[in-house]
Amino acid sequence: MKLASSLPLRVTLAAVAGIAVMLSLLIALIGAAANRTLSERTLDALDAELAEARAVFTSDGLDALTRHLDRRTAAGAQTRYGLAISDAAPRGSIAMTDISSTTDRTVFTYTDTRTGRSHLAAGRRALIPLADGRTAELLLAHDIDDQQRLARTIQMIALAGTVAIAIGAFGFGLHARRKLLSRVGAITTTSRAIMTGDLSQRIARDASRDEIDQMADNLNGMLARIEELMQALRDVTDNIAHDLRTPLNRLRLIAEDALRPDHGTEFTSDALGRIIEEADSLIKTFNAMLLVARLEQGVGAEAFEAVDVSRLVEDTADLYMPVAEDARLRVVVRVVQSANHTIKANRQLLGQAIANLIDNAIKYTPPNTRRAPADVIIGIQTKTDTLEISVEDSGPGIAPEDRARVLKRFVRLEKSRSLPGTGLGLSLAAAVARLHHGEIRLEDNAPGLRAILVLPRTTRA
């Protein structure tokens, strides 16, 4: 990644620039305020000294003033003065000719006539009328070199501080960028690995529970779901391959056999009949696959109507009764007709789901089981919020670890592969249950399987 396009760095730099500007402004303001306060104090002191000088002059005359001033401005004192009288030699350490300003208050630079050093000073000027009619121009001043130096120092510190902050912030930005990059980099690396086909990769987590960690968590959850779906798809493909190839092979064999010239017409027409039956069973399988797929998309919910479930269960059981009798199984239907059994449902789909459960129960219970009171028991239980349609058989049952799996599309346990059926019966029933916001529960009927179709009594539709 280019440095200029790094998000954390850009954010940090913008923040640094803003802080630097504000800091400079603040320091400039503080400097100006300090400078002004110091200047005011200097001028106030000068005013007091000037008043004192006037008083000395008024009572004792010019020479006394000069002595007074010389005393005040002796070495170590703050005050300097200059006194200029026309035609007379200037007195004091400030040469009045240096001063160009004519205002009362002034800041100026002068060269000390005694030391020859240059100073910055703030001064107060006063004109003193002499007895002989001439005017003496008196200037009292304080050197303000120190004050100036302080102001400069403040400015320097401000500048240096700003630069230091900028450098520090830049470093911090780089660090943040590296830190963030290492976190985002983990995500990038993982996604690259996934793009090359390794869906088992997961983003590394740290235990910080920060935003990125939570995002990694969510992405991992998403990946797990995708992997699960891919696996399901693979399983489905494998199962389809098996379940469709077998009848297709059979169909081809029958056709091939029928083509041989030594067979009579009757044999041929019999073979054609069998071919049609094989084709029909293939179409059935395809239709069931399509139906499961569409149910998983929520199709079928538009055709909900009031359905008397007890009636539907009885009718469906009735449809299968002769099949059970042929298999020498006793089937008991324990259903009492009741208004409570009317729910909003898709009658055809619900009928199909119930039919599949009964079909399985009959198919997997061995003939002549002779269990008391019956080999297959079909019933309805009313619970507070749900209606439970149960189908109990006396077959081999399903091992607990396999129960969740058989509800998935196209899963048939190995031992049942030889029995007729699309392998979609339970998964279709489960899909229908989900469409009705219900579920299929599989329990141990010791021995056998108890399949329960749970439906909410007030179906949200």
Binding site: L272, G273, G300, L349
Partner: protein, 226 residues
């Protein structure tokens, strides 16, 4: 019977026309919705076979247009959409029957025959007779020759449907739809078991069987010869 097939797929249309002609019908073919509607509207057909998805005008709209006229010609809707809801939509639009592609030839012929017969004003028959088998709807009684047969309610309705369509092939799907009102596939061939029950009651012990199996198609009630 004069039939009109409205189907845009040339192969399917040709297959339909050939099959129906072989079954003794006169067949016209329209390849798009507009032409189909004009031909159908001109009238004179006993049954219309309309594909759901057509260029220019879709099948359901043709049916709705005809029903609005009103034109009560029986319509068999053909569709690749197999689900219960699609079927409900088709029948609500005014279709009389619904057949999902891919369909079996025998299923098609059986359904067209059933529709064509329905077109004739149905006299309220109270007695169906096939050979010496008599079904009395009012008395809910079935007899063969001199014997009164004891049928359960479901067996009675099954026999009634078969006898109403005597001489025609009735498919398993048609039986499921009309006798049980189920529009789904009950995995195992439950219908076969019901038929064999019924057969053991009406044919067992008699010289001539009346209820015949048509391999790969369904069943037919017929006096004399297999």
């Amino acid at each position: 019977m004069r039939l009109l097939v409205i189907e845009d797929d040339a192969d399917v249309a040709a297959f339909l026309a050939k099959s129906l002609r072989e079954a003794g019908h006169t067949v016209d073919v329209a390849n798009d919705g507009d032409t189909g509607f004009i031909l159908a509207d001109a009238g004179g057909y006993d049954v219309l076979l309309i594909d759901r998805m057509l260029p220019k005008r879709d099948g359901l709209s043709i049916v709705q247009g005809l029903r609005a006229k009103p034109d009560r010609t029986p319509v068999l809707i053909l569709s690749a959409l197999a689900q219960v809801d699609d079927r409900v939509k088709g029948l609500r639009a005014g279709g009389d029957d619904y057949l999902t592609k891919p369909f079996a030839y025998s299923e098609l012929i059986a359904r067209v025959d059933a529709l064509a017969r329905r077109a004739a004003p149905e006299e309220q028959t109270t007695r169906y007779v096939v050979g010496d088998l008599v079904l009395d709807r009012l008395a809910r009684r079935v007899s063969r020759g001199a014997n009164i047969l004891d049928l359960q309610q479901r067996e009675f309705r099954l026999l009634e449907f078969l006898m109403r369509h005597a001489g025609q092939v009735v498919t398993r799907t048609m039986l499921l739809e009309h006798v049980w009102d189920y529009h789904f596939d009950p995995q195992t061939n439950v219908i076969d078991v019901h038929i064999s029950r019924l057969r053991s009651k009406i044919d067992k012990g008699f010289d001539t069987p009346l209820l015949h199996t048509v391999r790969g198609a369904g069943y037919i009630m017929r006096a004399g010869g297999a």
